[in-house]
């Protein structure tokens, strides 16, 4: 455990640097924006970025102060038992208070990473993966892998990942209801929802749509052409009132991850389609349409 004190010192220094940096962070926000989105921020979005920046910076400060306190205490820890106690207290305080006053999961998970990183060495040192039979090596390897996924934020190596995120659901019934998705428009103007059942196994179309709309608008036409080609390929199934996942097993097919709506495509043969669009519609809770916005469009 001799290494724990230098580790605590290093993390304390990192926490203090984070705290000091937070006072200058606003100047770097446009650079961070460019790094994330790949494009320069437009002047009209600056106010929004400043607002976001204030929240972001406050959270960095909260976490770095909490982190500084934690690692100051860690300087006085003498053995593994005391360290484990500190981890438990740190997580409890975090769960009860810090997670409540901060919003972004990334900072919370980084704190967890700093706090629990020594566990990786402690566990490795304890088992050393020697003098063990085959089964125990596999078991300890699996447990070690689980620990790595527990500690490293957002680690994703299929078929392993670090767990579905914690979330809250607060619904304001005064806010409009958003419906976003791909729609096919026939030559006579009638439109129909392009269900995710068509692209199955691709399930989360909206996530992909938003990714290309926000980050690669230059590739939107290609994306819509891809959807178009899938529709043409699968139409023989769709016109029979089935989705492609039901070709072999019919109604007994393996369900889609997000059950799909029933849409009748029999009167929407590919030859009758004029365009394919990604549309955002807004409704009131009484189901009245407020407005709709075309986010992307392509002639068929």
């Amino acid at each position: 455990m001799k290494w724990l004190r230098p580790y605590a010192t290093l993390m304390l220094v990192v926490s203090i640097i984070m705290l000091v940096t937070s006072f200058y962070m606003m100047e770097f926000m446009p650079i961070l924006y460019k790094l994330y989105s790949g494009i320069e921020i437009s002047p009209e979005k600056m106010d929004k970025l400043t607002l976001f920046g204030n929240i972001f910076i406050n959270e960095v400060r909260v976490i770095s102060i909490f982190s500084s306190i934690t690692f100051t205490v860690l300087l006085f820890v003498k053995n593994i038992k005391q360290y484990l106690l500190l981890v438990a207290i740190g997580l409890l305080v975090h769960f009860l208070f810090i997670a409540e006053i901060t919003e972004y999961a990334i900072f919370k998970r980084v704190y967890k990473l700093f706090l629990m990183l020594p566990l990786l060495w402690i566990f490795f040192d304890y088992f050393k993966f020697k003098k063990e039979n085959y089964e125990k090596r596999v078991t300890h390897g699996f447990l070690y892998l689980t620990l790595v996924f527990l500690i490293v934020p957002g680690l994703y190596a299929p078929p392993f990942f670090s767990g579905i995120q914690g979330w809250t659901i607060e619904i304001d019934k005064k806010e409009p209801i958003l419906i976003e998705g791909v729609f096919l428009v026939r030559q006579d103007g009638k439109e129909i929802r392009y269900t995710r059942g068509i692209t199955n196994p691709i399930n989360f179309l909206q996530r992909i749509d938003n990714f290309f709309i926000n980050k690669h608008p230059d590739k939107l036409e290609e994306l819509l052409t891809f959807y178009e080609n899938i529709y043409i390929k699968q139409y023989s199934t769709l016109k029979e009132g089935k989705i492609p996942s039901q070709v072999i097993m019919g109604n007994f097919s393996y369900p889609t991850h997000n059950p799909v709506g029933a849409f009748d495509y029999s009167s929407f043969p590919p030859s009758s389609i004029k365009s394919i669009k990604i549309i955002r519609k807004r409704y009131r809770w009484n189901r009245e349409l407020i407005d709709e916005e075309i986010l992307a469009s392509k002639e068929w």
């Binding site: 409540e100 957002g154 767990g163 709506g261």
Partner: protein, 432 residues
Amino acid sequence: MNILETFNKKLYEPAPASFIGWSRIVILLILLWKFLSRDYSIFGLMPEELAIAYAGNTFNPLSAYVALGFKPIVDLFTFHWIHAFLPFPTVNILYYLQLFLEAMLVVTLFFGGGYKKLNYLIIYIVGMYLLGFIFSMGADIDEIFIPMQMVLLLFIFRGKETYILSSNQQSPLNYSRENGWFFSMVLLIFIGYYFLCGFTKIIDISLWDWGRCEVANLVELNKIKIAVGDDRAPFFMRDLIVGNSWMDIPGTALIYLEHLMIPLLFFKRRYIAFAWFIYFSFHLTSLSLNLFFTGIFLSWLVFLPVHRFYAKIIILWDGDCSFCKKSVDVAKKLDVFNRFIVINSNEKGKYEEELKGWDGDIDKGLWAKGVDSHENLVGFDGFRRMVWVMPLLWIILPILYIPLIPTIGRKVYAWIAKNRYMFGCNSKGCRI
């Protein structure tokens, strides 16, 4: 005994070989069903330039959900790194690859892993490659990760298989430490999956956030979205949830707590049925939010102790109790496959070998012991074990495992056992 010693002891707690065969069947059938219901050839229509929507790019990095789901990492684990050497596949290549995988799943279902269990490795590699198109987008994560981890475990497992068309297999009722290790590893896969999900619930959100999960309102929102034409399916349970906000906090807390406490299942395995019931309800309820975790929902079936459906059991009953005799006579009639070996307690001297393990206290009620198994059950649990081989009573079997039913059942059974002579007695020595 410290926790590590207990862990090591539990790790090798003997389990029947039937578990290996049954879990193999469940997992391979889930995968076969899934692949027969999916068309991965559509990725051949996708221009390679569009294959950039990786999980690490599409999710908000501030949520840190799959923040490290970038191309190099995901491609490494899904074998998509091969595209650095080979061109992106065409529709035909993917179609035949999927067909090959389906054929492998069928062959393996009947004949097992084959030489060095390589069939499982092939299924894993080809399966991960095809699923990789979806995994890269951060989808199907909670749907199929457990089955794929189990395929890998079946490859790693060095013991013999069961329920295959080959003479090179072990008897399903063979209990061994090696089979017990396999059972423990499967349990650890489930525990790892759920516990990691639970741990994020104390890191990403606070205790107070546990009370901010407006499920009933979200379900109502789902209903309205369907009404205005969103891409969601109707589901009858929504009507049961809408307006019942009182369920939000206890429901959420129950699931999060179970996620966090699930490691205890490794040590207290008799609660597997309890955990199964809670997750069954949870995954079914998630359909109200238009989410269905079919793969994981069905993966729980691996814990069904199938050997109980056919393994013979010894039933010891109180020969002085006429009520017990009547009950046993009814049970014998329902034992259509002749699985019971019924022993009257007055004749126990004749069955010393069979009665090994019995504590000698008939006042606890009837005693049921699986032949060739490590099961040794008394009272309500003994009765429940009997139901496994009585097909006409299978309908009540799941009910006997619903939380609280066993607790109440044990108390009621204990009362009946204590007062059994009130319902009739065959002996002069009975107190009435």
